[in-house]
């Protein structure tokens, strides 16, 4: 039933490790996003894919690499984790990019804690 799902919900790991967060949407949407929400609740877009093609790549360290095996999935891999990577990561999807298709549906978030 879940429209946008993420796994895991919680991720605790040590500095230097490599981890992945998975996202899947069953809405048939063409566009998917990754956002980072810091401890002050500030949401910032990281990446966006449209039909498996990267269309937005914000100023994100290249330790972060998104991968979209198909348009229903957008995974986020993070290498050499740092303390500053601790945040809640949200996946989202939207039907497309052109009006009136902008509404984004968000997943429940993955709380990443780097120790």
């Amino acid at each position: 039933d879940t429209a946008v799902s993420q796994t895991p919900k919680y991720l605790v790991t040590q500095m230097g490790n490599d981890k992945s967060i998975k996202c899947e949407q069953n809405l048939g949407h063409d566009t998917m996003y990754w956002y980072k929400q810091d401890s002050k609740k500030f949401l910032k877009i990281m990446f966006s894919y449209n039909n498996k093609e990267l269309i937005i790549n914000e100023t994100v360290p290249n330790r972060f690499s998104p991968k979209s095996p198909d348009k229903a999935h957008l995974n986020l891999h993070i290498n050499s984790l740092e303390l500053g990577d601790s945040a809640v990561y949200f996946c989202a999807s939207s039907m497309g990019q052109g009006a009136p298709l902008y509404e984004q549906y968000f997943g429940p978030g993955t709380r990443l804690t780097v120790t």
């Binding site: 990019q97 902008y102 978030g109």
Partner: protein, 112 residues
């Protein structure tokens, strides 16, 4: 630079009263605006949107007002209920890209 901000980080409202959450934006090229509600432990949830060619849009108990002259956006919630307690974000979409810029969020507390 581009920014979307909120005037009040925390807003406390008596149950049954109307709430008004404000948002300022600086990018005159933004063509679409959205209000999101985020409850504790959950992802943001779409509430209402408005395009830049409109100045008002109404939904169920919510109204969004857009004043492009002063680059100001507001969300009005009528008859605020305890279930409205959450953090509210405004977001703008740059007209030239598909990028969404989120504001810093306002926490709405509904007092019984």
């Amino acid at each position: 630079g581009e920014s979307v901000g909120l005037h009040l980080p925390t807003l406390s409202v008596q149950e049954g009263d109307n709430s008004i959450i404000n948002c300022a934006y600086s990018n005159s090229a933004s063509d679409y605006f959205i209000w999101y509600k985020q409850e504790s432990g959950k992802g943001p949830q779409f509430i209402i949107d408005i395009r830049s060619n409109m100045d008002k849009r109404q939904g169920q108990r919510v109204t969004v007002l857009l004043n492009k002259t002063v680059k100001h956006l507001s969300l009005q919630i009528a008859a605020t209920q305890p279930g409205d307690s959450a953090v509210y974000f405004c977001a703008e979409k740059d007209g030239g890209t598909y990028k969404y810029i989120f504001g810093t969020g306002t926490r709405l507390k509904v007092l019984a």
